[in-house]
């Protein structure tokens, strides 16, 4: 029999399997290593620090858990958040993340490894990414084989789409959620294939973990029923499906209701109704099947079938009715905005205002997935080729996830795994075809199949490949290999497993060589791409900013921590700090001071109040501040060094949100120039110039430039020479690069004058007494 290249033939199957499994273990270990290592850029370039905003809350909660124990954490009422309302933390979070790191913390300490809780939090995400790679491997293995599994693991290990949410320090729910997602899906597939209640239960347990860990669990809650429903419609109902689904749904739902934040939602809200409905449908279908098995009368069966359909329809109607009567809550806003994409902007601006809720343009798809993104459809097609139940799952997953990822940037996260899996399937089947040494030629000897596996990296591969090909050829010997031309080729290809396979294979070495080199080149490119993207785009902890010195060395801009730490050390413990909600968690975490609003945006009115205070003139804002016992107001101002994510740029959202509650006091158009431009220079609209935010941002900013013209580096506009004056607030602290500015709210005037006149009086007197201050020169 002709071989493109020779192989060691004197290998016993046992050796082969052992070697290959060893190699697989090594490969997986290396992949995990790579996955973890590529997420450490943030730590290497900066330090082991918690990133961004939400992680700071998770970190704080975890500290409570680690220090005070689980029950204290469970019953934790946070007085400092949402002052004066406070927040019941235990009931308003997904505790999975904190619980996980809490367990790790305690275990390590029990082993006399006193690791700092911060480091655990920082390194949790990379650690779990390794687990994700492993579970993806298992998942893909079920689809195709180990070699595809390894590829998939490698892909998800370094794919930026997943790294973006799991670099060291981004201590957020997604860090562990993706692992849970993949493992739940894996065990679901497994349960479906084996029809074992054990795996069904495993699915349920991991589903519970997922529910406890991430709000995105609704994705699983709807994916699995959708899959089951599709299988039923495809007429693929089986006892395996029945067992798997029932065990998952029963146990999973009951378990998920134990999470206080979820509570009775699984039976009350629309997100969960699909699962319930399919559960019911399954019972009916099962019953029908049962009857059908015993009765054998055509029309009765057809009646039965019809009745099944009818009952299904009735169920849907009943559900609709319940929703209409309000016994079942309709879709929540966040969820609904996935379907009606205009919804959020109109009715929940707070959600729309978050940048990661914006739709995704194609460059970010390519940025996050590079060549996987176009291998992905190929993989889907291959799934269609051999359409086993698990392939159906992947197909559904592919469609749904790609839609969601298109609607919301952050949902790229749920797309990444399936892309990796599909791409891996496509890629590995390409390699299988071209590494396989057998050249197609009709040969008389039909060798019995010795069974085998093919993993792209080991001698076993080739050998296994050989044997499996032998099998094909054995069959091929029977069929005639006369077809030529692409068309017939396609026909043959489409035929897939169903028809008796024709002689397939590759002639010559050069072709093989070309393809393999090509493939390796793409993989290499992918690695380069991922490394570049990760290091440049996804590894900066927005708490610390990095800039380049003239000599090229890295210069760290640390204003946030400077200001937060100042608050922490030099203000009374109970001083209430008002800031826009983005910074609530950071203030609570780093400055350890009460805040009015923070990143869990549960109370729109409260946020609107802050928005109103920021966007209305001093004398209007002052009563609001005093009513809320605000001692300090903290704002972010990037005008000096050109930090674009500052409050002036977010200002319009504050205005909008405030307008939503006080439409006749705050109107967005008033903050634009008559020409409808958003300006901060002399041409700015009076409302803009009088707003508290504007005043606080540019207070004494012009003086910094002395004589010369003051320029706002973010807006690229010239700031008026005579800056705004403040009567009701005092500048308390300004960080080194003016990014963070903190103002203290004055107490009422002792003489009962309003502060404006009091100030005017004081200034007047001063001028009489002392000569004016020396004019300041510009600072370089």
């Amino acid at each position: 029999m002709p071989l493109a290249y020779s192989l060691p033939s004197d290998l016993s199957p046992a050796t082969v399997t052992n070697t290959s499994s060893l190699l697989r273990i090594i490969a997986l270990a290396l992949i995990s290593g790579a996955a973890i290592a590529s997420r450490l850029f943030a730590v290497v370039n900066f330090e082991s620090i918690i990133h961004e905003f939400d992680p700071w809350f998770n970190y704080r909660a975890t500290k409570v858990l680690a220090e005070k124990g689980f029950y204290a954490f469970w019953n934790w009422f946070d007085h400092t958040a949402w002052y004066p309302l406070g927040r019941v933390v235990g009931g308003t979070i997904y505790p999975g993340l904190m619980a996980t790191s809490g367990v790790i913390y305690n275990v390590l300490h029990a082993l006399n490894l006193p690791v700092d809780i911060r480091n655990i939090c920082v390194l949790l995400a990379p650690g779990f990414s390794a687990l994700t790679a492993w579970s993806t491997y298992m998942f893909t293995k079920e689809l195709k084989d180990e070699s595809a599994g390894l590829l998939a693991a490698a892909f998800i290990g370094i794919a930026p789409g997943y790294i973006s949410r799991s670099v060291a320090g981004s201590y957020d729910n997604e860090a562990i959620a993706i692992f849970l997602l993949m493992f739940t899906f894996y065990s679901w597939i497994k349960a479906l294939k084996t029809g074992s209640a054990f795996f069904g239960t495993l699915t349920a347990l991991f589903y519970f973990y997922m529910v406890a860990a991430w709000g995105g669990y609704a994705f699983i809650t709807n994916m699995i029923p959708l899959h089951a429903l599709t299988l039923i419609l495809m007429g693929r109902f089986s006892s395996r499906l029945y067992v798997a689904y029932s065990s998952w749904y029963a146990i999973g739902t009951l378990a998920s209701m134990q999470v206080p934040f979820v509570g009775f939602q699984p039976v009350r809200t629309s997100e969960h109704m699909a699962a319930l409905g399919v559960f019911g449908l399954l019972q009916i279908v099962a019953f029908a099947e049962l009857v059908r098995a015993h009765v054998s009368s055509r029309q009765f069966q057809s009646i039965l079938f019809g009745s099944v359909i009818v009952i299904g329809v009735l169920g849907v109607l009943a559900f609709a009715g319940l929703t209409y009567k309000g016994w079942i809550a309709p879709w929540t806003g966040r969820f609904y905005s996935l379907w009606d994409t205009g919804y959020a902007k109109k009715y929940i601006p707070i959600i729309a205002s978050v940048s990661e809720h914006q739709p995704t343009a194609w460059p970010s798809f390519f940025m996050d997935l590079q060549f996987l993104i176009f291998l992905f459809p190929a993989g889907v097609i291959l799934c269609f080729r051999e359409l086993r139940d698990e392939h159906v799952f992947v197909i559904i997953y592919a469609v749904v996830a790609s839609y969601f990822a298109g609607v919301m940037v952050r949902l790229m996260l749920t797309l990444t795994p399936v892309v990796c899996v599909a791409a891996a399937v496509a890629f590995s089947s390409l390699l299988d075809t071209y590494i396989d040494p057998v050249e197609p030629e009709v040969s008389e000897v039909a060798v019995p199949v010795t069974g085998g596996d093919s993993s792209a990296a080991s001698p076993a591969t080739v050998d296994g490949a050989v044997s499996s090909k032998k099998a094909k050829k054995a069959a091929a010997a029977v069929a005639d290999a006369s077809s030529t031309g692409i068309a017939s080729g396609i026909v043959a290809a489409i035929g897939g497993q169903s028809k008796s396979p024709k002689a397939r294979g590759i002639f010559g070495l050069d072709t093989r060589f070309l393809i393999v080199v090509n493939a390796l080149g793409m993989l290499l490119f992918f690695v380069l791409h991922c490394t570049y993207v990760t290091s440049s785009a996804y590894s900066s902890p927005s708490v610390v900013l990095a800039s380049q010195n003239p000599d090229g060395s890295q210069h760290i801009i640390d204003d946030f921590r400077e200001a937060y730490y100042w608050l922490r050390q030099n203000t009374p413990q109970d001083a209430v700090v008002m800031s826009w909600w983005d910074y609530g968690y950071q203030i609570a975490g780093m400055a350890d001071r009460p805040t009015l609003v923070d990143n869990n945006t549960w109370n729109n009115t409260h946020i609107a109040t802050v928005g109103k205070a920021m966007s209305s003139p001093e004398e209007v804002a002052y009563p609001i501040l005093r009513k809320h016992d605000v001692d300090y107001v903290l704002i972010i101002f990037g005008g000096l060094i050109g930090y674009s994510g500052d409050d002036i740029n977010k200002f319009l959202w504050m205005v909008r949100i405030a307008q939503g509650v006080w439409p006749d006091e705050i109107q967005e158009p008033n903050y634009f120039t008559p020409k409808g431009e958003y300006r901060i220079d002399d041409a700015a609209s009076p409302t803009m110039k009088n707003s508290l935010m504007y005043k606080m941002s540019y207070y004494r900013f012009a003086e910094l430039f002395g004589g010369s013209q003051a320029v706002d580096r973010v807006r690229g506009q010239q700031v008026p020479k005579t800056g705004p004056t403040l009567d009701y607030l005092d500048e308390a602290f300004t960080s080194e690069n003016w990014i963070v500015r903190i103002y203290q709210v004055k107490k009422e005037d002792l003489l009962g004058r309003d502060l404006k006149t009091a100030n005017a009086f004081a200034n007047g007197k001063k001028r009489k007494k002392s000569k004016p201050l020396a004019r300041r020169k510009a600072l370089a």
Binding site: E47, N112, Y564, R568, Q569, R700, D730, E736, R776, L779
Partner: protein, 486 residues
């Protein structure tokens, strides 16, 4: 005043009372010169007694400190003029009927009649000054006030005495000119440059008596400008961890820094701060950065606070000096707090470093004991440490631990401390101090034995853990728990 000296002897106080009353006429001071070096948190006072014996074999000289002096004094040492070794000093604590704190000094050799000797008493006073005015705006200058007594009191008769007060800057806003002072004919006080001289005063009777104080003693107040921030370390926790495996001595300080200068009036304006920096005339009570002399040969210096690493500081390390050579070289750290420290502001941080154990430890082959010397504190000039705790963590399994402090601690304890890969934990020596000044920079010597088995403990523990893990994995892999055989 270091109370710990008092503790053992205060019981005997009554027994010694006759002695000091008797001592009252065994000496006379031919001259007393007190020199006060005004400063911020620390005030150095040097008093020179020229004493003449009135009896043969009089060897115990007594000095007296008033209430306030005693309350502020954190360091007190007596020497013979021109010599280095300290004279033994005994504390008699509070002497009830005279209302003084008495100390007796053992002269090296007893004096006979009319033999003279020059005693030099050095004291360091902490918290003796306070900012005046108590509040200052960002651009205002900083001034301190210092209270003291006019006359140096002594249980002996004094021929002549004078008090010199040196202010760090010639800019002295005010100083009291006491009225109707006896013992002198001409001007009570004269000011020359930065120095204010009280006296000379002649023929003062034994003055360590309450009614003398009530009648004759006068209070003097100096109000002077001080151009450096007044710094206090309210709390210093030093942990020194000795590791034989790493041949490493890790020293870590947790420091609460407080600017005890005038409280900031109004608010901090970055604009003014930057312009001051730009024109190079920073306000005297603002601390932009702190210069520290860390030991030589250190590496992996880290400096962070509650919210993470602080990137604003510069370090210049120098290689460690070979043993024996007394070249005192330093690694120089310019430590910048996250924000400039204005009057009344606090800043807490953690500073630590590693250094090779060989620079600090030695092995005494005779006793088979290791000797490690751990510096009590990193001395920062003119900064007072209110509360200090030094903990020395010895390697695991260290036995017969012994330690020798340069001066006794308030409380001493040995506990166990468990850290990475420990099985039984390590002995930890903890010493507590108060009111440390730049005179207190000393070294605590710890000696201990480490048996060979103790060295092996760690690797063995780790090895067992791993082997156990593998055994478990092995078992799990081999045991078949399926109900149905496929």
């Amino acid at each position: 005043m270091p109370r710990h000296w008092r503790a053992p002897l205060s019981l005997l106080l009554s027994a010694f009372l006759p002695l000091c009353t008797l001592a009252a006429n065994s000496f006379e001071n031919t001259a007393i010169v007190r020199t006060v070096e005004l400063g911020g948190a620390l005030v150095h006072v040097t008093t020179t007694y020229a004493v003449k014996a009135l009896e043969d074999g009089s060897s115990v000289y007594t000095i007296a400190l008033g209430e306030r002096e005693h309350a502020h004094t954190a360091w007190l040492e007596a020497k013979l003029k021109g010599q280095t070794e300290r004279l033994p000093l005994e504390d008699f604590g509070y002497h009830r009927d005279s209302g003084f704190y008495l100390y007796t000094i053992e002269l090296p050799k007893a004096l006979n009649v009319n033999q003279t000797s020059n005693l030099v008493i050095e004291t360091v006073q902490t918290h003796a000054t306070y900012p005046w005015p108590e509040e200052a705006a960002q651009k205002d200058p900083q001034s301190l006030k210092y209270h003291s007594e006019l006359l140096v009191l002594s249980p002996y008769k004094t021929a002549v005495q004078r008090t010199k007060i040196r202010s760090p800057s010639p800019q002295v806003h005010s100083y009291t000119t006491p009225e109707d002072v006896e013992f002198t004919t001409d001007a009570v006080v004269t000011k020359a440059g930065a120095t204010i001289t009280y006296g000379p005063f002649y023929d003062i009777p034994p003055s360590a008596i309450q009614d003398f104080v009530d009648k004759k003693q006068k209070e003097i107040v100096i109000h002077y400008a001080f151009d450096y921030p007044v710094l206090e370390i309210t709390e210093l926790r030093r942990t020194a961890e000795i590791s034989h495996w790493g041949a490493n001595l890790n020293i870590q300080d947790n420091i609460n820094l407080h600017n005890a200068g005038p409280r900031l009036k109004g608010h901090f304006s970055r604009l003014e701060h930057q312009s001051q920096a730009y024109f190079g005339k920073a306000a005297p009570h603002v601390l932009p950065s702190l210069q520290l002399h860390l030991p030589a040969g250190i590496h992996d210096v880290y400096y962070y606070d509650l919210v993470g690493n602080v990137s604003t500081s510069h370090l210049r390390t120098t290689p460690s000096t070979p043993k024996g050579t007394e070249a005192n070289r330093f690694s120089f750290l310019e430590l910048r707090p996250r924000y400039p420290l204005l009057g009344g502001w606090n800043y807490s941080f953690t500073l630590g470093w590693d250094s090779s154990l060989s620079d600090y430890a030695g092995f005494d082959s005779k006793t088979g004991k290791y000797v490690v010397g751990v510096p009590i504190m990193t001395v920062i000039p003119s900064v007072v440490v209110d509360d200090a705790e030094v903990a020395i963590i010895l390697p695991e399994g260290a036995t017969d631990v012994d330690y020798y402090a340069p001066y006794p601690a308030l409380s001493e304890s040995i506990s166990t401390h468990i850290t990475y890969l420990d099985t039984i934990g390590r002995p930890k020596v903890t010493l507590k101090y108060q009111q440390l000044t730049d005179k207190h920079g000393g070294v605590i010597y710890v000696t201990y034995k480490v048996p060979f088995t103790a060295h092996l403990r760690k690797p063995v523990a780790v090895a067992t853990a791993f082997i156990g893990f593998f055994a478990l994995a092995f078992a799990v892999k081999r045991v078949d728990i399926r109900l149905r055989r496929k």
